[in-house]
């Protein structure tokens, strides 16, 4: 909360500086501070006031809709996540600051709002259109990430997210800047000068009418389309509830949603699953990894079929992941309640940068405590 107060306290200072530089016609400082400061303040406010969650939920919702349209069986989850069933398991893609486009949208608004040209009306039109177009570009970016992950596997999440998606977004935004800022600037100045006028402090460079006519239609259509489709889709789909559900729920409520059985399993697994940090494991690595404890074949024989069969109707799902970043390699279980989509437990590694082994012939190595194995069996037998 203190960050929010800090941001609010910074606003008067920011406004003072902006007004000062504007009054004294220090355009560089005005523009840089104006655009950058605006971006920072707005983004921070959006986050701290949890407006970002709403935006993210809408983005999840739209991404889900479009995914469904292109036959990708994605499912919107709460807290800005999208579940993507894969061949072996599933992937949860989360929309955070990197994919919500909050920063980029704020930057766009800042760059246009403080640009020392164009009338206020034109700036408002550009901002509205720019925001709508940026939103659409972002949705397309996320579709690219979803599609690549779904078709190529989890191994391509990094490439899809950080390279392909990013490049696509960058190029589109630059094209947007060209049409919103650069081209109107050039044509505005040109139109001014070609009429024999000179730019003075009293004049304002405006876009020529022809350009306004051409871009105005586009600027009106895009936000209308985006807003209209959003409204329509909200009315005709139930998925939005899932996207929004839980957004405002605090952690404690989410904690309460875990069933008693969930908690039992968590406790059990925590008790019985050794951690790689345990002295027993670290001192006996060779033994630990020996075929007698578990082998690829044993995994394939025992666990893999169980895992593969635990789709759809199963209430709990266990995925086993191998972290590749940490040394020594860490092993952990990953439980998810399929009904609520919540992660019930994962551990013992707290932040695994894991790589889900999605191919059938990949090696699955896992720590399987005898107790947990028994639990698996018991669950299966019950059903």
């Amino acid at each position: 909360m203190w960050q929010l107060y800090l941001v609010l306290a910074a606003i008067p200072i920011y406004l003072f500086l902006i007004i000062f530089f504007r009054k004294h016609r220090e355009w560089l400082l005005y523009y840089v501070l104006g655009a950058f400061g605006f971006t920072l303040i707005v983004t921070l406010l959006v986050r701290y006031l949890e407006v970002e969650n709403i935006l993210v939920a809408i983005e999840v919702f739209h991404t889900n809709l479009v995914s469904q349209f292109i036959n990708i069986p994605a499912q919107a989850l709460s807290a800005g996540r999208l579940r993507l069933p894969m061949v072996h398991g599933m992937t949860i893609l989360g929309i955070g600051i990197e994919c919500s486009a909050v920063l980029e949208m704020s930057a766009l608004v800042g760059l246009i709002a403080f640009y020392p040209a164009f009338s206020l009306y034109r700036k408002i039109m550009k901002i509205i259109a720019g925001l709508a177009i940026t939103y659409v570009i972002n949705i397309i970016r996320m579709i690219i990430i979803v599609a690549m992950t779904y078709h190529l596997g989890n191994n391509y999440v990094f490439i899809a997210h950080a390279i392909v998606g990013r490049l696509f977004f960058f190029v589109c935004i630059i094209v947007l800047y060209w049409y919103l800022i650069t081209e109107p600037t050039i044509k505005g100045i040109g139109s001014f000068l070609s009429q024999g006028q000179k730019v003075t402090p009293q004049t304002l460079v405006k876009e020529p009418l022809g350009l306004i006519a051409r871009s105005g239609i586009f600027m009106l259509i895009t936000p209308a389309l985006v807003g209209g489709l959003t409204a329509l889709s909200f009315m005709h789909s139930d998925q939005w509830r899932t996207a929004f559900q839980g957004q405002i729920l605090p952690e404690s409520v989410l904690e309460e949603q875990k069933t008693v059985e969930d908690k039992q399993i968590i406790e059990e697994v925590q008790k019985t699953t050794p951690s790689p940090a345990d002295p027993e494991i670290s001192q006996n690595k060779a033994t630990f990894l020996s075929p007698e404890v578990l082998t690829d074949d044993s995994i394939k024989a025992e666990l893999l079929p169980a895992l593969l069969s635990w789709e759809g109707d199963r209430e709990w799902k266990c995925q086993v992941r191998l972290t590749v970043e940490e040394k020594p390699k860490a092993y952990y279980y990953y439980w998810r309640n399929l009904k609520t989509g919540q992660e019930i437990w994962k551990g013992p590694v707290k932040e695994p940068q894991d790589k889900i082994l999605g191919q059938p012939d990949d090696l699955w190595r896992c720590l399987v405590s005898p107790r947990l194995k028994a639990l698996y069996k018991a669950k299966e037998n019950e059903q």
Binding site: W27, L28, I97, K198
Partner: protein, 581 residues
Amino acid sequence: MNNNLLIFLIFWGAWILIPIAVDGVYALIQVIVILIRGQKPKLQAYRLATDKMPLVSIVIPTYNEEQNVDECLNFLKTQTYPHQSIEVIIVDNGSSDRTSQIVQEHIAENRVHPSYNGQEQKIQHNGQTYPLTNHFRKIALINYQRQNKAHALNIGLEQAQGEIVLNIDCRSRLAPDAVYNMVAYFERDPELDSCTGNVEITWRPAQLNDQNGRAVFFDDGFIQQRDTTLKEDFLAKCQFLEYLTSFRIGREFQSIHKSIYTLSGAFSAFRKSSLQNNHFYPKDQNGYLENKNAAWYSDRTVTEDTDLTLSMQNKRLKVGYAAYSKAYLKPVISWQHLYAQRVRWRRGQIEVFGLYSKIIKNREYGFFGMIMFPLTLLLDHTLALPRLIWTALFPFLVLFGYSPTIVSIAFLVICGFNIAVDFFNIMICYPIVDQETKKKIRATLHYGFLISIFRFIVFYFRISGFLIALRESPSWTITGGPVQRTKRITQKMQTWTQNIASKVYRLIQGRNNPPNPAQAPSPKKNNTPSFLEKLHSANPAPNIEQNHVDGLARNNSAPLAPNNLARDNHINDRIDGLNHK
């Protein structure tokens, strides 16, 4: 951690890294094209036939150039081109210093062989010695009192008698074979209408002048040179490296694709017949002309050279680049002047590109319209916008959950990438430049680490140019450079804050009583200076010095009224050394 850093760098650093990378890739493409299709050294060996030595006119506009004009003329005296076939026309734009006097001295000395203490006058330049010789066909001085560089240039072009007309700045020092090689270009290509030379920044010590602005000589006749300061050295070498990519590579690449958009004011040349056959600004359109027959440069923008070049491109005239005709340009050696220069360039660019915006994505103009023109705007304007904001935002990403370590490391990586691209740009120039320039590159290679700082600062100067073009009147004089402006801003802010604070204080104290309308307001209630008066006396307003860029001052001159077009009354009657028509 490594994965986190990589993701962070690629994801957020893209806004800064990609524009930098695009610069590097673009430079690489240019060099490859030049290596394949560029001018070959054999061009330099082209010999003019003795009966093919056309008269060359060299037009030099000046304004308060007493520090530079003598050196400029001395370098003209080293030209290998027959001096009898060279006429020099200096158009002085109302200088208030000794520029005119120095030129008149040169006029008087023109028939005399230059000597000092019985020794032949010589210049040492780039390790070689060049004797000075006179006997130009003529050296003429035109005093044009009205400060307008475009008009001054037009007058010079109008008065020029030569078949080839060179236009140089006072800060330009032509290489001894520059005129010869330039003429050779025109002789080899009869279709060439205009040409820009190879402008290279030199950090060699400048000529040491006496109090009259004339060169100081050693006893053996060599011109004395002064040492440069560290700041001058830094600025000069950074500008050298900068010009290397923009001129040596950029111009030649543009020339190959017939898409040069600026004939450098520091060194360019025209075929006089092309000028006579093409008037770019007829008097009935803008009324800026001095004479209806002299209609080339215009003052409608602050970069008259770019304006003229695009006019020529618009008329499909052939604009070339003479890689082997070199001019050494004295660098701008103060941040204030550099700021003014870059602001003017960017302002001029946006103005001229605006005037010729129909060229953008116009197939009629081929590569120039479809690629070069929009690409230049994209690189200089569009890509600058995200870079502008994300450079400032980058450190603040820690507020969005990223660890300070990752942000710091990423920032260092970006700086390193920037330096790597600068080094890359320097190295790829190496294969295509001449031996002399290669030597200079080797001498400045270590500046690859420093030029990023220079470019970073200049980047913001350029942004300033764009913004000023949108809201301020055109002017060559930018009041104060960034340091002065920052000081001025700080003082203003201090004054402003204290004004507000004092008003608030008075309000609180109840001193803000409305005046009694029956009484005339008294200017002061007592003789004790007020708080603000004390403040102002303690902090007088800074003496803002006019910044004369390129030695040429401009004001917001209104265009000539149409009925004054026949002859400008401001041309001084005294035109030294010039035969009246």
